[in-house]
Symmetry: C2
Subunit: 324 residues, 2 copies
Amino acid sequence: MYNQTELKDLVEKAITNLSYNTEAEKLIDPVKYILSIGGKRLRPVLALMACNLFNDNIGEAVMPAVGIEVFHNFTLVHDDIMDQAPVRRNFPTVHSKWNVNQAVLSGDVMAFIANECFLQTPAKCLSKVFRIYNRVAVEVCIGQQLDIDFEKASFVTREEYLRMIELKTSVLLAASAKIGAVIGGSSDRDADLLYDFGRNLGLAFQVQDDMLDTYGESKVFGKVQGGDIISNKKTYLLVKALEMANREQLKVLHELFSTTDTDPQEKVNKVMDIYDQLNIRSVTEQLANDYIKTSLSLLEKTDVPKKRKNELQLMAGSLIGRKK
Amino acid sequence: MYNQTELKDLVEKAITNLSYNTEAEKLIDPVKYILSIGGKRLRPVLALMACNLFNDNIGEAVMPAVGIEVFHNFTLVHDDIMDQAPVRRNFPTVHSKWNVNQAVLSGDVMAFIANECFLQTPAKCLSKVFRIYNRVAVEVCIGQQLDIDFEKASFVTREEYLRMIELKTSVLLAASAKIGAVIGGSSDRDADLLYDFGRNLGLAFQVQDDMLDTYGESKVFGKVQGGDIISNKKTYLLVKALEMANREQLKVLHELFSTTDTDPQEKVNKVMDIYDQLNIRSVTEQLANDYIKTSLSLLEKTDVPKKRKNELQLMAGSLIGRKK
């Protein structure tokens, strides 16, 4: 069994060794850049762990796992254009380091580099794995669309919000786990359990991301603190606050989130005041922890010797209370 | 054997019948829009004709052929962002009808809708067909990168230019023909001949496109006349003119193409004056016709009864002297 550090190293090495058609180096430079500035490699590591759950040999899952990471970074490059985000993982985003056109085009080629990785899936499960991947790739686009739509919407329900993050974030972690399981030779039932395991983990992860955007240390987290508040982004914190607020708090929140005139720091302070009054931080942490517990109970149900589940349990558990 | 009109109808019907995940309609509306405003459907029709060359049953090639068309339209949506083009096929481009963010995202989902189509390739040749497609998808991105780079370059050789259009345009027509052939059950040799047939057809097509941008009637051609000249785009006309120009003409061309200050109509007129002096229009038409002849001689070499080649010959021949 591989541990998380070994798998992350394996993924890093495979990403470094990716071969590119370099006839136009300007196209590939941003690809190498975004793939080199790290991140947690959560998705490919999850895929390899899920594979390792069923199989000691995880070699066949490495390229599809890398494909998931390339796809994930493709979405980051394009999402950062749409969000006009200047910083990602403490580094300039691709469109700010180069320009929007370059970010569109270098992002595009990543979608096909991801395909290339998936085309290296063993023939026996190529079609099945590619279908799982491609379905969630479409869903991730839908999630980003809902995210954009919600920015303009005056009100978003808790259910609508959770469905949006399910599509935008969770289904890709779900697919990562399922793809690893399928390549590892799992039963259909176990593959589906792994999908739901990843889905719940993803929900926890995104709810935490919302929390860290407001309450995380920006240096540790790698984004501007309160960026979501400044850009009027719907987050779990906001959606929950709007659900819990009294008339007075509701009025202030509506005013603050309907203009872009307020001084950014003042806006962040005022919103955080209300969040604090409503205890939003701990409510949100609680929800994330509930999702993690659900994911662990799903893992429990898989038909695999207990000992093999250790690494996935550790990984899920390590998300509890994460700071970045 | 199917004729071109029957195949175009078949493609239109399959495009109309595409099923989408419509959880976010705003994401899919631009996809339906760009796919509905027509175009010649040259690539999918070419794929189906190539399939029909080897097989009376072309049903299995329909979805991959549609996949090629969806991919092609994906590149149009994103290229139009990069080129800031207001009009495509006499209709507003996606980013001008909606906005740049929407065009990025709805473009993105088209890459995965194209994948979905390719995943419907018969299992026996899924992997082979997907590899042919994905390789050229990367090449098309490289071609677009070179196109962008060339806009800023002060000088581009004829060879560099022809390689750029080979990547940006020709390889997709080449892949269309090869994919059709492979699904139709051709030999490897014939599939490669069909690839080169499509490649030459694509080169002819792009050289003609350059010509029509300057000499075509904008209402018939569906783009602003002289748009390439106004935006300082390198075209075969320009590259060839720079190769043939005397010192005086060279000086004027360099001046005109190094500023954006000149009145657009005046710039177009002055450049066209020089093109006329150098007989650029007929030199360009001649090159396009040479490519078409080469493509026809490659088709000749395929190991297929002469009569079956009729439709592909007609299609290639119909490109000679096209007005739109």
